[in-house]
């Protein structure tokens, strides 16, 4: 009886709060973490930066399945002292990933649900902060941004869109390997002209000359081998420091075990999204995109090569579209050339 009374007392002290206007005051240095309820699912969102600018960049993470709140916590892209000084950035964990909690079904995981979550978040942020929303997706997030634009051709909340290293093709798409073959060939010619790894790149050109198409598994493995040896090692992902791990363990909003040891769960979600993406032929539907969009990729991005981004650019019907290829950058163009990336974003948004 006593135990029940104490529990009731503890519960009562925590619940029954109400929304106040000052919950979402704008400031040049906002840093707020909250959850948004979409049906029964709670989406964790962190808004950080200059909300007083009246503009919020809604960041759509890649992966799929990569966590985002820790990406923000350790300031992986380095935007805390750059982009967030100009605008606010909203980071959120996609459904089922990162800081999820509660019970939900794997069946809920689909691109359609992810697009619906995005619409919900954009609508919420726009109202809460009375702000313009700019949707910016990286990699898979860029592809998700295209899908959002197709799903909301006239009622989309953002007034501008940015796809950063966001491919138009999926793994099952034959066009993907046409772009990738072209990327390897063009990169070989470029690198030979720069007198860099000439012998190795000559070998690549020789290999490509016997393969007008890359179709077999063995050829795709060989393509990946050349990329790993000659491209990726110069433009790899940013490595994490001990300080990053320490920071995440002690100050992130995650339950560390849930977030980091349950990779199997994320794999299920990732696989479901990849299959869902593959079943939708996006390249055939790019002409349906006619919103204001900026496309950015790195010259050495093997996931979203410039050859592919050119195709996306040419097939989008928007009259307000822009393509930027960042030299000396790979798939993480924001980390490889942060200053140039930052300038491109600011020039586009302002």
């Amino acid at each position: 009886m006593k135990i029940n009374f104490i529990i009731t007392l503890l519960l009562s002290s925590i619940v029954f709060t109400s929304c106040k206007e000052e919950d979402f005051l704008t400031s040049p240095s906002t840093d707020e973490l909250f959850h948004l309820k979409n049906e029964e699912y709670l989406i964790p969102i962190r808004v950080r930066g200059n909300t007083a600018s009246g503009k919020i960049i809604l960041f759509v993470q890649g992966g799929p399945g990569s966590n985002t709140l820790d990406f923000a916590e350790i300031d992986y892209p380095g935007w805390k002292k750059t982009l967030e000084k100009e605008y606010a950035v909203a980071y959120y964990d996609q459904r089922g990933t990162g800081n999820r909690q509660g019970n939900f079904k794997l069946e809920q995981i689909s691109v359609k649900t992810y697009v619906d979550d995005l619409h919900h978040i954009a609508s919420f942020l726009s109202t809460a902060y009375n702000a313009e929303i700019i949707m910016m997706g990286h990699s898979f997030g860029g592809r998700l941004t295209y899908r959002y634009m197709l799903a909301h051709p006239t009622d989309g909340i953002p007034n501008k869109y940015i796809s950063v290293n966001g491919p138009g093709t999926s793994d099952g798409d034959t066009l993907r390997w046409e772009f990738r073959r072209g990327f390897l060939r063009n990169t070989a010619i470029l690198e030979i002209s720069k007198d860099k790894n000439v012998e190795e790149w000559d070998g690549v050109l020789s290999w490509l000359s016997t393969r007008p198409k890359i179709e077999t598994v063995a050829d795709k493995i060989q393509w990946n081998h050349y990329i790993d040896q000659l491209v990726y090692k110069y433009y790899s992902e940013k490595s994490l420091s001990f300080k990053n791990y320490f920071n995440v363990l002690f100050s992130s909003p995650y339950n560390p075990i849930t977030a980091f040891l349950n990779e199997g769960i994320i794999d299920d979600i990732r696989w479901k999204l990849i299959m869902d993406m593959a079943s939708f032929n996006l390249t055939d539907k790019l002409s349906g995109i006619d919103q204001d969009i900026l496309l950015i990729t790195g010259r050495y991005d093997d996931v979203c090569p410039p050859e592919e981004m050119n195709y996306v650019f040419n097939n989008i019907s928007s009259s307000s579209k822009k393509l930027e290829i960042i030299e000396n950058a790979g798939h993480e163009s924001f980390n490889h050339q942060p200053e140039e990336f930052m300038n491109l974003i600011i020039n586009y948004i302002k």
């Binding site: 135990i3 104490i6 529990i7 503890l10 519960l11 925590i14 619940v15 029954f16 709060t17 109400s18 929304c19 106040k20 919950d23 979402f24 707020e32 973490l33 909250f34 959850h35 948004l36 309820k37 709670l42 964790p44 089922g96 800081n99 999820r100 909690q101 509660g102 019970n103 939900f104 079904k105 794997l106 919900h120 609508s123 919420f124 109202t127 809460a128 363990l249 002690f250 100050s251 909003p253 995650y254 339950n255 560390p256 075990i257 849930t258 040891l261 349950n262 769960i265 299920d268």
Partner: protein, 194 residues
């Protein structure tokens, strides 16, 4: 159903303990996922059985062994993730040597309610409303504990212990959610004994 099962176990164990036995000790401990996610746990110990174990041949030491049921309540606070409030009966087997050093191993089954901070929803009129959200969990735990009974050497009727544990709460996608928690506490004897 699981929620009801948990409550039933909790109430039954507590009631049996209260009616049959008097508590032998009260424990108070820091309880947290990490240092930055603090909490508190309070419990009453009921000794179900105790006996002296075999002497170690080499040292001629007597090992005191006991089986203890404890009723616990507690909470932890993780600012941006959740606050958890739980009631957690535990059963443990403990061994103590003549110097007062003890180690225990045990299991617990109980109920946990979480509260998720700063939750908002938008209605069809695009109005923002703050709402209260959380989850009910059937909570299980397994632990080891290491400590020292201060009454042996210092005549203080108290023990100190450290108790790392893994908690598993369900339902959660895909089945349950795992927590690591560390308990550091004191155990004050309410009756004189071993």
């Amino acid at each position: 159903m699981q929620y009801l099962t948990a409550l039933l176990i909790l109430i039954t164990t507590t009631e049996i303990s209260a009616q049959i036995k008097k508590p032998t000790a009260i424990s108070v401990s820091y309880f947290g996922e990490t240092i930055t996610h603090p909490g508190l746990k309070i419990g009453l110990d009921y000794e179900l059985k105790s006996w002296d174990g075999n002497k170690k041949k080499s040292t001629q030491q007597t090992i005191s062994k006991s089986i203890i049921l404890s009723s616990n309540i507690g909470f932890y606070f993780h600012q941006d993730y959740q606050t958890g409030v739980f009631a957690l009966p535990e059963l443990r087997y403990s061994r103590k040597n003549q110097k007062g050093n003890f180690r225990s191993v045990g299991l617990g089954v109980g109920y946990m309610r979480t509260f998720i901070p700063n939750v908002y929803e938008v209605n069809t009129a695009n109005e923002i409303k703050r709402t209260t959200e959380g989850n009910n969990y059937f909570l299980t735990t397994c632990f080891v504990a290491f400590g020292k009974d201060l009454s042996v050497k210092y005549s203080i009727p108290m023990g100190v212990y450290i108790k790392p544990q893994i908690m598993y709460a369900l339902p959660n996608y895909p089945n349950g959610v795992t927590y690591f928690a560390l308990e550091i506490g004191i155990n004050y004897k309410l009756t004189s004994g071993k």
